[in-house]
Structures are given as structure tokens and as C-alpha cells.
């Protein structure tokens, strides 16, 4: 992954789109997450400065929400649903296949920074079990033999 040095202006560009109120914090953190694939420490420090909100408070938010990550993540996120229905329909095999093929452990990021692999517990789409979510796209009735092709097709590599 190319390491972009993050200077304050990158964060300011996002921060200035919002009102200077505490209610904007979560939306800004989500934007950081989208832009950088995680919430960088420098981003929290800058946000704290500009918004005049204690860094401890923003850091606490970062640790609270599952949608925010404080460590760098892959360009693409693959979530394997391991809820009850998906589990019965073969989610463990899907997960194992992805772990093997991508050479990454669950909740880890591949060495090239392409993929982060995660488990989630039920996404409310049990009728489509087993479900795998690549970035924002939901795939139903996934199978171990087809999963890698499907992922490659979607991300185009």
C-alpha cells in the first residue's frame, strides 16, 4: 500500500464540510474511514483541535463503533456472515477458503493491503445464506468453490 503522509489539509478538507458541532463528529469519522480506510491518529488529533472537542472523547467514539477502525485496513473489505443460518449453510467453509486463498487470518488485512477479512454475526439476510459482503455489495448463496472468482470479478483484479 502506498503510504500517503497525512497532513492536516487532508483532514481539514473533510472537516470543513460540516458544522462545528459535536453532532458532526461521527459523520466526519465515517468520512475519514471511507477516505483512508481507517481513522488515522493524526485525523483524531486534528479533529480535536478544529472542533475543540477532547481527543479522548473522539478516540472513545473510534473504539466504540464497529464501523470505524483505528488501524489501517485493506482497500476492500470482505465480510463473511457467520450468523446461525449462514453458519449452517456453510459459512465456516467460505471463511476457510478466503483465509487460505488470500493468505490472511480473520479480522486481518492482506500483506498487499488489498483485503480485510472480517466475520459478522447476522446481517439480516438469512434467506440468502450463506452471505458474503464485499465492500458494500451483498452476495447470497455463496459457495467455497465460487467465492474467489466472485471476489475477483467484483474488485476487478
Amino acid at each position: 500500500m502506498t503510504d500517503v503522509t497525512k497532513d492536516a489539509t487532508q483532514f481539514d478538507r473533510i472537516i470543513e464540510r460540516y458544522e462545528k458541532t459535536e453532532e458532526s463528529l461521527l459523520a466526519i469519522l465515517q468520512d475519514f474511514q471511507r477516505e483512508f480506510h481507517y481513522v488515522p491518529e493524526e485525523g483524531i488529533r486534528r479533529l480535536s483541535e478544529v472542533m475543540e472537542v477532547p481527543a479522548s472523547k473522539i478516540y472513545a467514539m473510534g473504539t466504540f463503533y464497529k464501523a470505524l477502525s483505528l488501524t489501517p485496513r485493506g482497500r476492500h473489505t470482505i465480510k463473511v456472515c457467520t450468523g446461525t443460518a449462514c453458519h449452517l449453510k456453510g459459512a465456516p467453509q467460505i471463511l476457510e477458503t478466503l483465509e487460505r486463498e488470500l493468505k490472511v487470518k480473520r479480522n486481518g488485512t492482506t500483506e498487499d493491503g488489498e483485503f480485510t477479512l472480517e466475520c459478522v454475526n447476522c446481517v439480516g439476510a438469512c434467506a440468502m445464506a450463506p452471505v458474503t459482503i464485499v465492500d458494500e455489495k451483498y452476495h447470497g448463496q455463496t459457495r467455497p468453490s465460487k467465492i474467489m472468482d466472485m471476489v475477483k470479478k467484483q474488485v476487478g483484479s
Binding site: E41, P54, S56, Y59
Partner: protein, 242 residues
Amino acid sequence: MEKISVTIDGRTFEAEKDRCVLDVAHENGIYIPSLCYNSEVTSSGGSCRVCLVEAHQGGRMRLVTSCNYPVRKGLEVKTDTPLVRRIRRGVLELLMARVPDSEVILEMAAAEGLTEPRFRKDEGESERYKCIACALCTNVCAEVVGVHAIAMTERGADKKPATPYHKPSEVCIGCGACAYACPTGAITLKERDGVRRIWGRDFEMVRCSVCGTPYIPVAQVDWIVSRTGKDRSFFDKCPDHR
């Protein structure tokens, strides 16, 4: 302030409306055990569940945490019924299982005749071995000190107070109010050779010009001076020699 009368354990007291049951009870010599509440901290309380009591009002009874339950007209509180004792024992057993090393909780449990919890004891990491995640430390830091050096991070079983990224905080003034307020002694504050260590940061202490005792962190003096405009020389001497 509107005064009302409230009954606690069969005795009737005059009290200011909306004060919490726990404060009114304690002021009148009725003991209710508690951990997470400090009457000096508005945002404290309601998390440890140790101070549960029966609140009878309008023909109904509810178990409530006395530290954040307001006294109102016609309220009758019972602090020592079989139900209260049973539930409190359960709460203490859970706390014992969660933080097996806390002397305070062991003592409280012993007072209820408990030595071992029914539940499996938590292995825990040493750093939060005594922490019950009550947030009194973070509330004190934010509300009383006004520094916001620490906040409650993570959630669920992992919830714990921490500085951002668990790094030494730049804003912490080393006052130690968090360690002082902590009901279970979970926050370590160490002092040696005029240096105080807390939350992973070392603070140089000001020595009293009379007795030579290091008694306040330089960073705390800076904070007080910047906030109040008080003369810095005031802190040359410790409270005993002023």
C-alpha cells in the same frame, strides 16, 4: 428549595426534593453500600448496581439504584429487605467474578457473608484487574478537573478507561483525581524521587520550599494558573506550610 418528606427504613426525614436517595440516607445515618457514586460528581452513579433499594411509590415497588433515584413526596424506601439483600449479593458475586483482586469488593462481599462467587472468575489483564468500568474516573476528569485526559473506550466486556491510543496524554495534568476517586483502587499512581507516574506519563513535582516534600505536579500548577490567574508563587509551599 422545596422540602418534602421521605421515609427510609421506617423513619421519616425532611429532604430537598430531587436529591438522591443515597445522599439523604447517608446524611441521616442509614448506610447503603455503593461503589460508583460520588456526591461531588454530578455525572457519577448508576453503574455498579450495589446501592439497589426498594422504592415504594403510588402502590408500586421497584428496585432502583439509590444513587440516582430522586426523593419525591410520598416515597418510601427500604434498604434492607430480603429482596434487596438477595439482589445485592448477586451483584457482588458478579463483581467478585469480574475483578477477583479488588479488596474493596471482597470486603463488601464479606459483609454480606460471601467468600466465593457462584460464577467463574475472570482471568483479566492486569491493567484492568480491579476496574469495574464504572466511569467515575473519566467523569471526575471531565467534570471536576475539566481536563478530559481519559475516556471510557471499547465496549461490552472490554470497556475500560484509557487515554487516546493508550499513549501518555498530552493534556493530563497528573492531578491524580481519577486514582483518588476510583472506588476499587484500579488506577496506579506512583511517586518516586519527586516524579509522579500516572497513565504512563511522568510528571515532575513541585517541592515545598519549607519542607522539601514534592506535593503537586508542575503541570497541575500550570493548569490552575492558566485557569484561575492565581499567582504561581502560591504553590511554592505545600498546604501545611502556607
